[in-house]
Assembly symmetry: none
Homo-oligomer: 220 residues x 4
DNA sequence: TATGAATGAGAATTCATTCAT
DNA sequence: TATGAATGAATTCTCATTCAT
């Protein structure tokens, strides 16, 4: 957590630091990022950085939290707009498009997501993923439950496995179009926004389409 | 690629270098690994390392290639043993167990797989993943084709999406029991071998079970 | 010397600062101590510290003075209790036990004494030792004089050398049981309170026992 | 212990590093010394320093060992010259003069001795003192034993206490003339070589003179 | 073919002190 | 009188790579 000093800072300076830090962590990952570089870009002294955050990990965790919140709130807005309750599978299909699109439009959040997902150092990874995973789960779990409760999901669906799979699939779809080496099959790396969205839908559909509960023809 | 000098080396020395390098890259990842440490462990001079490999990345790529071959050959042995042609889905179920088990038993290959999957540095990641992905594809593609050709797979299956998904799922299942932060849902991180195998099967089944083509009752 | 501001401070705040500073200087020595840490522990701002003391050395000197006074007053109480006038050597034997015991029971004063005795920085050392030595001398000199004047000390005793030696021996005996590396012979470092007292007496006796003036058989 | 690299170094470079390091450690103590400064003075790069010694403590320990050997060998030369066997007390009197004189003439060794004796950091102190104390004991113990065995020492002398006391007194006498704050009584700090030697003798005599065994008039 | 010394930039973090508010 | 943000030089130590021998 940032220090009180950080919270009292003029917004302009805070933004400068955030921008510099996001750029650096996004570009080089947590372990590879240089605090020196961040200071230089943000035009603050090395000493000041440590008045704002207790250490490198603290700063990174704060950025990850902010990014998670931005992403989550964008997705929740989307969810609110979609007919989840009446057409879960159609909504999901649109949602995944919005998801992939979001990361096309927000390179900052995409880079931080990459940094979070590609951290090799164990303690750093565990700490940061914990935060991010929490946000994912808090959105996905009620969504899947809703699908189940509204009778759209086959009742025998392994919901935990489904959530685990989505938790794996979502960051992958967010990153694969931008991060070389992740997808050698579907051509996600080509860079076309529309292609990426389509291919993302293909993967998602493969997983979720079979889980749709066929509606018995109602007699009323 | 290793230099000719490397290939002319006595096997004992080559093995010493490989063992040291695998340990180091496995433990710290590509960027974090120290050539100093590798030299010390392998008991060779720093100069020699650069006579065997052109640079750090070259050495790492070679290790990844070797590991891929080991893993692939273990899996191909397994595949040969299993009734893929007559019971694709049963075979796959067993295969995934063997897969997860393999990484329980081969910490060296597991650590290198982690390093490969968690590398943030773009050129290093692209180079290594290309190699590794090629091996995956060369095994998975014929397997899926066989299932299709033998009529066990629903004909409308999106085979590319399936392969892309397996390519994502397999490393995940290999690592999640050993790498903290990857799976917050199914409890793969607990460390129990049997649990990990079971949970791996759950995730795989969720994806592939619905793809099974119901056999029309044959008349012979 | 503390500023007037310091003296006007509410006792509670002063005590908090003193406690924090003693802990820090005791643990890390003068040079190693961090004013940051002291502020944090005392819950005062960094600016305030420099309103109370002109600088780090000033604060340290003040602490040393306070500790000297505490130690001195404890010893003077002891001296008053002992039959110095009639049995100087017996009294001294008891006194050294009390001395060693005092530092067993007062870790705070012990740590500050260690900091004082192990300071390498010349100006800091000179300033602090001057204060501390003054207190030692003001107690020891009259004591030795009394022994001499009451005819218990051999008249040819080199009193200055004796005082110089005591001035060396006393801090040593206070610290050796707690500070590793000071005594490799008598096993003072073992940590047993009783042992330390006994060994302290051995060293002292070796020095002072031969100085006892044999009483000429009185004729009354 | 220095690395093999260090031992293979051209003598000139080794000497430059040693000189720079001795000056810095002598002047600022172990904790206060700056490796940067040492590099600069020795005109070697920062990286090189760590090819010679594993870390700061390693370098310091090496210097302390060298100084101990120099000091010890000077003293052993002196001891060999003196009639220890026939006139222990006279020899000791001369020896202490040589001792105090040595540190007058060897500022380098004196400064390192100060650094060793005034180190507050516990592990550093313990490590360095261990080396130095060993040398002291290996010289002093046989000396005292010889005095005892040749019947010059009172048989009831507490020899361990004596050695412990000498171990305390010797560094003190070496340093007190040069280090402010150690001796406020005898005026050792004044700086006169002859005075220092005389005062050193006073302190030593006070301790050892009474231990002389009066020779029974032999009848041969 | 092997060696291993040399490098200098770079890492994260701490420090005592100042001064405008 | 109190505050606390700002500083920039300082710390020890690591790094991949080069090249003369």
């Amino acid at each position: 957590m940032p220090t009180p000093t950080w919270n009292r800072l003029p917004a302009a300076k805070r933004d400068a630091v955030l921008a510099a830090a996001e750029a650096e962590f996004g570009e080089r990952g947590f372990s590879g990022a240089s605090l020196n570089t961040i200071c230089r870009k943000a035009e603050i002294s090395k000493g000041s950085l440590f008045q704002y955050f207790t250490d490198k990990a603290d700063m990174y965790a704060h950025l990850a939290e902010l990014a998670s919140i931005r992403i989550r709130s964008a997705m929740e807005t989307e969810v609110a707009r979609l007919p989840v309750r009446t057409d879960f599978f159609g909504a999901l299909d649109e949602l995944i498009g919005a998801w992939v699109g979001y990361f096309y439009d927000h390179p900052r959040d995409r880079a931080l997501t990459a940094a979070t997902n590609l951290e090799h150092d164990a303690p750093a990874r565990a700490a940061v993923r914990a935060t991010v995973n929490r946000h994912y789960l808090e959105v996905l779990t009620p969504l899947v439950d809703l699908a189940h409760d509204s009778g759209q999901l086959r009742p025998d669906t392994d919901r935990d496995a489904l959530i685990a799979l989505l938790l794996l699939l979502l960051p992958h779809l967010a990153l694969a179009p931008h991060v070389q080496g992740l997808d050698p099959v579907l051509g996600l790396e080509e860079g076309e926004r529309k292609t990426a969205i389509d291919q993302g839908r293909r993967m998602l559909r493969l997983v979720v389409a079979p889980l749709r509960q066929e509606q018995s023809p109602s007699t009323d």
